[in-house]
């Protein structure tokens, strides 16, 4: 159980240091991008070239990225909640299964959306059709999301087996 305590502490640390200050900062960033975008030169770095972006491009990409960030923060919140159930020795609670499925679903969505955003950014900013194969962070996020969904199914089966075992006289 010491591993669980370490994991919970680490997740809490990330939550307190990154997510809690991140929410108002992201909101501030959004307001800044939409109200006064001309005050700062935004540069879109596609990995190939750096291009000065138009206001509309910046606003669109910023909006998508901030939404993805908020979904990521929500995933971490759900993970913290799930770890709390583990600490209470309720690993087969309905919420744990639902949370794992939700986290998986959202992470897969984040991975695919981020992949699409950067692909489209390259296409429209650099005018280059580029598909990057191999291990990219977005594909890893999609894999992580699918792993959480599989984990949810495994927990569902385990819960059923546990109930059956408890009701065997």
């Amino acid at each position: 159980m010491r591993k669980l305590v370490i994991l919970k502490s680490l997740v809490d640390f990330i939550w307190i240091v990154t997510c809690i200050p991140g929410i108002p900062l992201l909101l501030f960033f959004m307001v800044f991008v939409f109200i006064n975008p001309d005050s700062v030169n935004f540069v879109i770095d596609t990995g190939v070239s750096k291009t000065e972006a138009s206001t509309l491009q910046v606003q669109l990409i910023a909006l998508v990225l901030v939404v993805l960030c908020f979904i990521g923060i929500y995933c971490l919140y759900l993970f913290r909640k799930t770890l709390r159930y583990f600490q209470q020795v309720k690993p087969f609670h309905e919420d744990v299964i639902a949370n794992f499925y939700k986290i998986g679903y959202l992470l897969s969505g984040i991975g695919i959306s981020a992949l699409m955003v950067f692909f489209l950014a390259r296409l429209f900013v650099d005018n280059k059709f580029r598909i990057q194969l191999g291990i990219s962070s977005y594909l890893l996020i999609v894999c992580l999301g699918l792993f959480f969904m599989v984990l949810s199914e495994v927990f569902k089966v385990a819960k059923h087996a546990k109930e059956e075992n408890e009701l065997t006289v």
């Binding site: 109930e163 059956e164 009701l167 065997t168 006289v169």
Partner: protein
């Protein structure tokens, strides 16, 4: 579930209380209650054997199959 447990009927016929049977069989009264109310998902052969021995009956006296339709 189409399997009906007639344990209470057999208990009444033998004039035995639930806690006495639980004591003889070596299971808790809570587990016996699960069995009596039909909430049990499975029964071990060892438990069935002990119940039949304590009540001097056959497994068919305790368990009955009734079709769903």
């Amino acid at each position: 579930m189409p399997i009906i447990v007639n344990l209470d009927v057999v208990l009444a016929k033998r004039g035995m209380k639930s806690y006495e049977l639980a004591d003889k069989v070596g299971i808790t009264t809570a587990n016996l209650s699960i069995l009596k109310t039909g909430k049990a998902k499975a029964i071990r052969f060892s438990t069935l054997e002990a119940i039949c021995k304590a009540l001097d009956c056959q497994p068919s006296d305790i368990l009955e199959y009734v079709s769903d339709d």
